[in-house]
């Protein structure tokens, strides 16, 4: 299974599979059925972060430096937590300005200057090439271990010429892959669908491979984690391996590494490529913000078991960096090591592919293209008719091959002396130098171009002095006396203890000094330099990128040029097809007759964007400046627009608050208005009813009075009867007016009661005596059911008497015509006393029980109660007034079923008066 032929067949077969996947995804994209438009694919493509360094190096680092291997993954977890805020902003800017790489991003932020872009590209090339070398080294090493185990692979590697080195051929195949799928379109800001699909698949392959070896180690080699840990317990030498003491630099080193990994995650060119340039939809970010950390957690789950198993193997496991391969190999397995090798290959190739695309775009757009443009500018005659569109892809392809060869060269020449992790961290520290210019530039409008240039230069110089050059010296490339004794023998210039800062691990030390100088210069220089107008605009656009509606309104050109000139420029740099398409999108004519016409602002803006996508923003700006006269963008306009936008946001926020308050107030007003209308209606009704009620007795008084007045021949008896009626009606009238006044007082709250402590039983007796005569007239039997003990309540005796009389009088009116009976009972509960008045009349229907308490409401419908004269028996105000009085005294009055007599039953409940002692 491990013969060279089989290993090579499987490896190159795997690469061929990648070609197929990429080609398929590209075809699907061309058909408009993209494969990569999902957050899961996006998260998997971000997992290109896990390189061969993760695959082999994590176990190595765990074995030698304890839990610090996790920091490389905790950092990105932190960064992804804020991805929906930070990365979303970058994605939005990149989309609007057709940003193609991190060099493009930084150069665009600081006024689209070519020089800054070139600086970033050069730093990336310098810092990242070793990282590519590291991947190739991992492939070579993996292959060597797989085919020669248990012999030590180092000897076989050094002696052989490069054409027998497998990673050389892998690099060549990758070059073909990247050229095929990475340079399909001229526009580098377009997505590389095929490549992203292949990367996502690679991420799955490496995860599965690593989980496979982890599961094997934990559950098959040892029968579970506890078995493994008990073996470790038997080896006291392993006891401290996972503790913090084993982490280089201790707690300080821990923090340094966490910061380094967090920053590198967003600044590594390949991460910028997959996070920002290849992002299909910003909404994917929020799902990826936990999916990707979950991926990292899974791929690290078995690192410690494998590391421990490797350590338990002792010498048979070789170098810790190769434990992933040697643990299954030592167990005598054949297939699993091959799977592991493919996993490592997928991790390495994924990284190389994306990194090379990112670097080649930077190299072609920021290093080569500006030179070419300058050359064309200097000798216009010679380059006049050259179509540069074809050149650009050519340059990018050559750059791809050169970068890969550079990586291979680095691997072949220097790679031997570094362990995997070392190279990776050196690259991380180089990429972290982009962080201040990029991240601060996103949130601080005042960061200037000069500040960014000085910051990057100082940062990378410090990085080179404290990390890169000492590394070279350690490898024997340079004399290393200066490393130990300091430059020119000055002890404070020792690269690993700069200015005497000792006791830190070299990465934290380098990161601290380089970021200190970097950030310090960015802030310091920015505060003392001025921004150019374009830079000010760009700074405002970048910092305000997330304001809604900004981009759609911001980019309108104001400069003047003709359509012909623009058409010529686009044809020359982007090709005929692209130029025609851009003109068609802007509704402009490509006819020669239209060439003299001025180009519309939207056409100018569109053209610049298209050029930026292909050549980078800086070169696009140079080209547009060569044909457009006057301002291409009204910058002040944009600045004022930005201010207006933020003001509008503020206004709208306040407006919203005010409108909310207004809504509440108007709600309250509406309610009050409704109440007023209701009261008004009630008042009208009341007035109408009162008039009606007053008129009835008045009419009869007047009628009888007129009779008496006109007819003097009336017999005395009749005259007397008429006078009786007049007196009776007059009494009724005055009673009615009294009651109306009572009611008015009650309702307006002006009724003053004089509550005092009294005995309700006694009051009831007195009241019933008062009414006894009336009852006797009517023939009503009154039954009293009173307790023997006094029942103290607090109340106004006159008013309470009025209520009781009213209740009894009422009941007597509604009692059955034959043998009318009324019963009055008193009962006390804990805190209340209940007075019950019932009759043996027809009772009150359930639905009418509340109506009886309405003013002038009478139960007139029941035929029984209609008196012979058709006149109502009461004023219709007794019960409402009674209820008002009772309510005033803190009690209640309601209608219930009669318990014994079966007719109507009115219940009055009053609170019992407190004990004598507590009342005054």
């Amino acid at each position: 299974m491990r013969s060279n032929l089989i290993v090579l067949t499987v490896a190159f077969g795997y690469l061929a599979l990648l070609f197929l996947i990429a080609a398929w995804a590209d075809r699907r994209a061309a058909q408009g059925r993209s494969l990569i438009g999902s957050p899961t694919v996006y998260a998997l493509s971000i997992a290109v972060y896990c390189t061969a360094w993760t695959f082999y190096g994590s176990v190595g680092r765990a074995a030698s430096h304890g839990p610090s291997f996790l920091l490389i993954y905790l950092g990105p977890t932190l960064a992804m937590l804020v991805a929906p805020l930070l990365i979303r902003k970058m994605v939005r800017i990149a989309r609007a300005q057709r940003i193609t790489s991190i060099a493009d991003f930084i150069s665009a932020r600081y006024g689209k200057r070519g020089g800054l872009g070139a600086l970033v590209a050069a730093i990336a090339l310098l810092g990242i090439t070793p990282y590519i070398a590291l991947q190739l080294k991992a492939i070579t090493l993996g292959h060597a271990i797989l085919t020669t185990y248990p012999t030590l692979p180092a000897d076989t590697l050094a002696a052989s010429p490069f054409w027998t080195d497998k990673s050389f051929w892998v690099a060549l195949v990758l070059a073909v892959f990247i050229i095929l799928f990475g340079t399909r379109q001229l526009d580098a800001s377009e997505r590389h669908e095929g490549m992203v699909a292949a990367i996502a698949v690679e991420s799955l392959v490496k995860l599965v491979a690593f989980l496979a070896v982890g599961l094997f180690t934990t559950f098959m080699l040892y029968s579970g984690p506890s078995a493994l840990f008990s073996r470790v317990a038997a080896q006291p030498s392993l006891a401290g391996v996972l503790s913090l003491d084993n982490v280089p630099g201790g707690q300080g080193g821990w923090l340094g590494m966490l910061v380094l990994a967090t920053l590198a995650f967003v600044t590594l060119p390949r991460q910028f490529q997959v996070l920002v340039v290849e992002n299909v939809d910003e909404a994917h970010l929020s799902r990826a913000s936990w999916l990707f950390p979950l991926y990292l957690l899974l791929i690290n789950l078995f690192v410690i078991p494998i590391a421990l198993a490797g350590l338990l193997l002792g010498d048979a496991a070789l170098d810790p960096d190769s434990f992933v391969l040697t643990v299954p190999l030592a167990a005598g397995l054949e297939t699993l090591p091959l799977v592991v090798f493919i996993g490592g290959l997928s991790a390495a190739t994924g990284m190389v592919i994306v990194e090379t695309i990112a670097l080649s775009t930077m190299v072609s757009n920021h290093l080569v293209m500006p030179l070419l443009l300058r050359l064309a500018h200097r000798r216009p005659a010679r380059y006049k008719d050259t179509v540069l569109a074809g050149w650009l892809l050519g340059i990018r392809r050559i750059a791809i091959v050169l970068i890969l060869m550079l990586g291979y060269l680095y691997h072949a020449l220097i790679g031997e002396t570094y362990s995997l992790v070392t190279i990776g961290l050196v690259s991380f520290a180089a990429a972290a130098q982009f962080a201040p210019a990029m991240l601060l530039g996103l949130y601080w409008r005042g960061a200037t171009h000069a500040g960014a240039v000085v910051a990057l230069s100082l940062g990378i110089a410090t990085w080179a002095y404290t990390l890169l050059l000492p590394g070279f010296a350690r490898s024997g490339w340079l004399d290393d006396t200066w490393v130990n004794e300091g430059l020119a023998g000055l002890a404070w210039l020792r690269p690993y203890a700069l200015f005497g800062l000792e006791g830190w691990d070299i990465y934290t030390h380098a990161l601290f000094w380089s970021l200190l100088f970097n950030l310090g210069a960015l802030i310091g220089v920015s505060l003392f330099t001025r921004q150019s107008p374009l830079e000010r605009t760009q700074a405002a656009l970048f910092t305000g990128a997330l304001q809604p509606g900004l981009w759609s309104r911001a980019v309108t050109g104001q400069g003047q040029t003709t359509q012909g000139e623009l058409y010529q420029l686009l044809t020359r740099y982007l090709g005929l097809a692209a130029a025609t398409r851009i003109f068609a999108q802007a509704d402009a004519s490509t006819q020669t007759s239209a060439h003299a016409r001025p180009a519309s602002p939207s056409l100018v803006a569109r053209s610049e964007r298209a050029l930026a996508g292909a050549l980078g923003t800086a070169s696009a700006r140079v080209l547009m400046d060569s044909v457009v006269r006057g301002e291409t963008l009204d910058r002040e306009d944009i600045l004022s627009l930005l201010d207006a936008t933020s003001q509008a946001l503020e206004y709208s926020r306040r407006l919203e608050q005010k409108s909310h308050e207004l809504e509440e107030t108007s709600q309250a007003l509406r309610a009050a208005n409704a109440r007023l209308r209701e009261l008004d209606r009630l008042k009208d009704e009341f007035v109408a009813m009162v008039s009606h009620e007053l008129r009835t007795p008045l009419t009869s008084i007047r009628a009888f009075a007129e009779i008496l007045h006109d007819a003097d021949t009336l017999p005395e008896a009749q005259r007397q009867r008429f006078l009786d009626v007049i007196v009776h009606e007059s009494q009724r009238l005055s009673r009615l007016i009294d009651e109306i006044l009572d009611l008015a007082r009650l309702e307006s709250g002006r009724m003053t009661l004089h509550p005092r402590r009294l005995d309700l039983v006694e009051l009831v007796r007195r009241s019933t005596e008062t009414i006894q005569r009336v009852l006797a007239e009517r023939g009503v039997t009154l039954e009293l059911d009173l307790p023997d003990v006094p029942t103290p309540v607090s109340g106004d005796p006159d008013r309470l008497e009025q209520v009781i009389i009213n209740l009894v009088d009422n009941a007597s009116k509604f009692a059955a015509p034959e043998h009318p009976r009324v019963r009055l009972a008193l009962a006390t509960t804990d805190r209340h006393v209940r007075l019950l008045v019932e009759d043996n009349g027809p009772g009150i229907a359930m639905e009418a029980r509340e109506l009886v308490f309405e003013k002038f409401h009478r139960l007139e419908n029941t035929s029984l109660n209609v008196p012979p004269h058709g006149r109502p028996r009461g004023t219709g105000l007794g019960l409402p007034i009674s209820r008002g009085i009772v309510a005033h005294l803190g009690g209640r009055l309601w209608v219930d079923d009669a318990p014994t007599l079966g007719g109507a039953c009115l219940l009055m409940e009053l609170p019992l008066a407190p004990d004598e002692a507590s009342t005054t």
């Binding site: 304890g66 839990p67 996790l70 920091l71 905790l74 977890t77 932190l78 992804m80 937590l81 804020v82 929906p84 805020l85 840990f229 008990s230 470790v232 317990a233 006291p236 392993l238 006891a239 401290g240 391996v241 996972l242 503790s243 913090l244 003491d245 707690q251 821990w254 923090l255 966490l258 909404a283 929020s286 799902r287 913000s289 936990w290 950390p293 979950l294 957690l297 690290n300 789950l301 410690i304 809604p548 509606g549 207006a644 936008t645 509008a648 946001l649 206004y651 709208s652 926020r653 407006l655 919203e656």
Partner: protein, 84 residues
């Protein structure tokens, strides 16, 4: 302004994660196990890490519910600008 609340929650979660992953908190868990002699630190880190991931996923599920409804504040501020 639901967007602001989500932003604040995200940032709070990131700060919590930073605290959990940094000294001195990690130092509290760097205790050797009584049985194997290995430090508890890696186990703690994996647990804290998993917890943070779960919280982020939970937060995202809440965000996406809100995202499905068109934000009132956004349209209103747009209107305000048009009127301006």
């Amino acid at each position: 302004m639901s967007g602001r609340r989500h932003t604040a929650r995200r940032i709070a979660l990131a700060i919590l994660a930073l605290l959990l992953f940094s000294p001195p908190v990690i130092g509290l868990f760097d205790i050797p196990s009584a049985i194997t002699g290995l430090s508890w630190l890696p186990l703690y880190l994996f647990c804290a890490w998993g917890g943070i991931i779960a919280l982020t996923a939970w937060l995202q599920s809440r965000e996406s519910v809100l995202q499905e409804m068109p934000s009132l504040t956004e349209t209103r501020s747009d209107d305000a600008r048009h009127e301006k």
